[in-house]
């Protein structure tokens, strides 16, 4: 059952991730990106991170995708931009594809060369999957990770300040 779910989700994820980087129209890219985020939430459920699956949908599909859509609406990109011409390096695109595929091959060859660890029960019982619950995460977050938590607050503050300072029109 979980194996079948994984295969289906993996195929949908790969397809929509490829669509994200190949569509000309940013709006369809964003919609495929939302589909990818939902698939990732599915993987998190399979890995027992139930709370993070919910957070994934709330934050990524709910907030970040909306932000992207707002910017597309704001910029009024009537025609898809020309993808050719004015390249700094003439063979820019093939080079980019080569590097991307190269990165993939390096990762995959490493993963394939190692025999792969003996796997704990990814299909295990209740207690294996209890770890992803919100209360367990909270206990770890508010004891061992209290300083990173406050620093995350500062980071969010910096994001607000930066966004306002950059995007707000100057008063005349």
């Amino acid at each position: 059952m979980q194996g079948v779910m994984f295969i289906v989700l993996a195929l949908v994820t790969l397809f929509s991730a490829l669509m994200v980087i190949t569509r000309k129209d940013p709006v369809s890219s964003i919609l495929y990106l939302v589909l990818t985020f939902f698939c990732f939430a599915g993987f998190y459920v399979l890995l027992g991170a139930q709370f993070l699956a919910a957070v994934q949908i709330i934050v990524y599909a709910g907030a970040i995708a909306v932000l992207f859509l707002f910017v597309v609406m704001m910029l009024n990109l009537r025609e898809p931009e020309a993808e050719e011409g004015k390249e700094l390096i003439p063979i820019w695109k093939p080079l980019g594809y080569a590097v991307g595929i190269g990165v993939g091959i390096v990762f995959l060859s490493y993963l394939a060369s190692s025999p792969g660890p003996a796997i704990p029960p990814l299909n295990g019982g209740d207690e294996i999957y209890a770890m992803g619950r919100a209360d367990f995460l909270g206990k770890a977050l508010f004891t061992d990770f209290i300083l990173p938590f406050e620093i995350a607050g500062v980071l969010l503050l910096a994001a607000v300040l930066g966004a306002v300072a950059l995007a707000k029109k100057k008063r005349v």
Partner: protein, 119 residues
């Protein structure tokens, strides 16, 4: 909770998606197709439309959306805190208080800069 307990969620996804898909396909197949100028309007019995839907938004919407993202993250951090409120005691209360004060500074900045005014 094992992943198998999420089967109802999956079924809901399929039911919702299936309903939307079947409705679209069924209206496409079953509905009569008599096109006229009025049929192609956005509102068949309403106001005449002006321009198209790709008018540029005001950048004010972006500032509101950024604020939404930030406070979305804040709520995400508050869930694990709230379910452990008794367990964490005063320490958790104070640390969450500091976090909230830091984020409120950002809200006050945006307010004072006039980013929230709609003018």
């Amino acid at each position: 909770m094992t992943p198998n307990d999420f089967l109802p969620v999956l079924i809901t996804f399929f039911v919702v998606g299936g309903f939307a898909g079947i409705t679209l396909i069924a209206t496409h197949i079953l509905g009569p197709k008599r096109y006229s100028k009025e049929k192609h309007d956005i509102y068949e019995c309403g106001l005449d439309y002006i321009g198209d839907s790709r008018k540029p938004f005001s950048v004010k919407f972006y500032l509101v959306a950024v604020l939404f993202v930030i406070f979305d993250l804040e709520v995400v951090f508050m869930y694990p805190w709230a379910v452990n409120f008794r367990h964490l005691g005063l320490f958790g209360f104070v640390s969450m208080g500091i976090f909230l004060v830091i984020l409120t500074v950002g809200l006050l900045y945006e307010w004072k800069k006039g980013a929230l005014e709609w003018e």
